[in-house]
Symmetry: C2
Subunit: 491 residues, 2 copies
């Protein structure tokens, strides 16, 4: 066996174990008996320990060294690039620090949840300070001289820098704020009201999943408190949720997760259980979930079809025509909560997180000043004041679990989705005809061919550039949002 074959056999086992760890998380959110938590904690720690040991295994380093100058094809080189990166990053972080981060962030989730329930920022700040100090220490270990923030960002979006994102987001923010202000002046379409049977919501959810190309022979749909997608390759599961008063939440959560899941399902099967066999970055992943959810799922053509489906499932629900239904699906409303935000306002939330966490990591903003900074920024971008911490800086779990550098990938995903949507429209000119019949196979086929099948073969920006024929830019997203909301709101 060559060094490459040996390394790949070892890596394949590691990837299989990583799939198991992911399935444990799925089980915890969907099936686990409620009293099993303490035991599950030990199980998760045990498999995480096994995975970490394999990722820093010195033998991996030796194989990599032996392959330093090997002549390999492009696929093998891409595999090695991923393995080398994972080995280097995991090896650079001292075990004691990794353990400490795991312990502190585990403890912090409970403290954050209680602080949020009690509207008590002060009880959360000490541990948030500790988390930031630990993540800065980790970033020091990982960084090769660049900004600390970039070292963390690189975990979620390899090859992208904070400065690049700041330039992109800097162009996005004023334009979004301006568009939002115009929309707020215009008369709002009606909101959906009434009650919608939850079993019928789940049934239509499954239909939607299949319409968007989700393969049920390699997946399943269950309910969970927070929708998510889990797994790669031949076993990619999604969850959704139901609320009798808000079927859109169910349907668009489903479509969003289907975007993540079909990406994983459609990766070239030759990459199964290898580093290339998973979505390449959080940003590209989010581009798939968001293009399904928004550019396709909330389009005039597709909502026209969905309107008929909802009439079939629920009878008359108070909205009488496709045009009003389309406006209602895309209704822009004031709100504090990022995860509930509409397509137009969502990125303003994310851009705020990005600027704040970048300042925290750079040391330009102290935790003591975070709430004030949050509230000032919110008032500036949204035009009204945060009323309580659970609607402000305590609303997201991310920082309590140590996720710094993750937030911007949400908006980067939207930017990528804007680019892909523009290219897809050009390539599939009759897309709206298809969507108006409830047929998303043309869209899925284009995304599979141009993005999804590649898995980790290309760097994130390269995947998008190849699919679109141009470097990613925020311009297509902005143009799309301007046109869409100008139409709906008669601006």
């Amino acid at each position: 066996m060559t060094a490459y074959d040996a390394l790949m056999a070892f890596t394949r086992e590691t990837e299989a174990l990583a799939q198991i760890a992911g399935r444990l998380d799925w089980d915890q959110e969907t099936m686990m008996p409620r009293g099993a938590g303490p035991q599950r904690g030990e199980e998760c720690a045990a498999i995480a320990g096994v995975l970490h040991a394999r990722r820093i295994d010195p033998q991996v380093g030796e194989w990599l060294a032996a392959l330093e100058d090997a002549e390999l094809d492009a696929t093998a080189q891409a595999q090695l690039r991923h393995i080398r990166r994972s080995h280097a990053r995991n090896s650079k972080v001292p075990a004691a620090l990794a353990t400490r981060i795991a312990r502190v962030t585990s403890e912090a989730q409970g403290i954050w949840a209680e602080a949020r329930a009690n509207e008590d920022v002060a009880s959360f700040t000490p541990i948030l300070k500790e988390i930031i100090a630990l993540r800065r220490e980790e970033a020091q270990a990982l960084s090769e001289g660049g900004p600390l923030y970039d070292a963390l960002l690189d975990d979620y979006e390899p090859g992208t820098t904070g400065d690049e994102l700041a330039a992109m987001f800097g162009a996005l923010r004023p334009a979004l704020a301006e568009l939002r202000a115009a929309v707020r002046e215009a008369p709002a379409p009606p909101a959906l009201t009434g009650r919608f049977d939850e079993a019928a919501q789940m049934a239509l959810s499954r239909t939607l999943a299949e319409v968007f190309g989700y393969d049920m022979t390699h997946g399943r749909v269950d309910k969970a408190v927070h929708p998510f997608s889990s797994g790669s390759g031949l076993d990619v599961r999604i969850t959704t949720r139901t609320n009798p008063e808000d079927p859109f939440n169910c349907f668009y959560s489903t479509i969003h997760e289907v975007g993540h899941a079909t990406y994983e399902q459609n990766i070239d099967r030759a990459y199964l259980l290898t580093p290339l066999g998973a979505g390449v970055s959080m940003g590209v992943h989010e581009s798939q979930s968001r293009i399904y959810e928004n550019q396709i799922g909330r389009s005039r053509a597709f909502t026209g079809w969905l309107f008929g489906q909802m009439r079939d499932a629920f009878g008359d629900f108070g909205i009488g025509d496709e045009e009003t239904f389309y406006a209602s699906v895309n209704r822009v409303a004031d709100g504090y909560i990022r995860t509930e935000a509409d397509e137009l306002q969502y990125n303003l939330h994310v851009l705020m997180r990005f600027d704040l966490e970048r300042a925290l990591m750079a040391g330009d903003l102290g935790v003591a000043d975070l709430e004030a900074a949050w509230n000032d920024r919110f008032a500036a971008d949204f035009g009204f004041a945060v009323d309580k911490p659970s609607n402000g800086m305590l609303q997201d779990v991310h920082w309590s679990v140590g996720l710094f550098g993750y937030f911007p990938t949400y908006s980067l995903g939207n930017v990528y989705a804007g680019c892909l949507h523009e290219a897809m429209r050009a390539a599939v000119p009759d897309l709206d005809d298809q969507l108006s019949r409830g047929d998303a196979s043309g869209a899925t086929a284009w995304l599979r061919e141009n993005v999804q099948r590649h898995g980790g073969l290309y760097a994130p920006r390269e995947v998008i550039a190849r699919a679109c024929g141009a470097a990613p830019s925020e311009a297509p997203l902005l143009a799309y949002l301007k046109q869409k909301f100008s139409d709906i709101y008669d601006l």
Copy 2:
């Protein structure tokens, strides 16, 4: 940290990983998308490899050596006994042999299933020969001079020998055959007929599970093709099945698995994720499932209560009184299939497997002669001829997956259940009053206190002897069966 603490910390992680491996199996039988098989195979192999490596880890050997003369309490000594045994057994089997056995038995399951479907013994015999040769080779490696069969038996029932079982079963067989012959002469009670709603079966199944003390906060009930129990400690799940024409299959499968599961749930929580934190042997495990299923679940008192539950759930189902219902639940009928056999005939099936597989392992019976030996023995014990291989030697999956030495634990479990039942009746004199009200908590409390809580603390026979105040013997089981079936059949 002392060597003992270090060893136990390592072992605890291993046990946690073993729980994960078990949960993967559960998922495969209940939740896994049907196209995920090939990936799941690699996942199972990867975690099995991790577990094996930990079990033979040289550091475990060093810790054990360092603790050779350590003064430890009885619990710690029991932990070491289990760890030492597992380390020694796993270390004795060469890795290449273990891999070969895994590969051949994996392949054999498909060949067996096809042979059974085609009634084609000849297509199965070559691989069965290979499996037997491999298991004999393994037994050679494990054996310390005793019979090869005993070396395999020791995996499932530590400390019990083939000769001990042969003596016990030798006393059982003629008595069972005689009782069976007498029952066959007597008029049979009516069989249950009609159709029974499957959702109502599942609902009553859950009631039964709770009646027998199954803790739903640390477990769950799902459907699967073959009922099973899975997991230890805080997460012990069961499955059952429904057949619209046979609700007894659902109810008694549930009660059987609840016996296995409550054993695991009721082990002293101090043993969680340690070698003592699981049922001590297959025989003791089966004693719990069978005493719940048969001595309690099929008793006159309990079936009286169940009759009322079934009337509530299904209305009039053609059996008009408790006495007839009791007889119907315990109806003895001719049949070929072990897993469908009633309480009276079941052990005759198992005793046959035991004698045949022991002869195969000893080299006294060749695979070429197995079918004839099976059919001769069946005719002698059951009084009619096997009509086709799927009703004969191809009916059980066990040998195709290499399980030699496992079968006798079924009957040993029944023998143990007989002993425990006798002791429990003496200790809980009003048990029938309780059971006739649908209250099994007295039985469960006695079993928890005298058997279940100990987990792996005592050797299997010792657990039973302590609970019963006497060494295990087949006599109580025989006496119980004679009385029960003499009553029902007016012998």
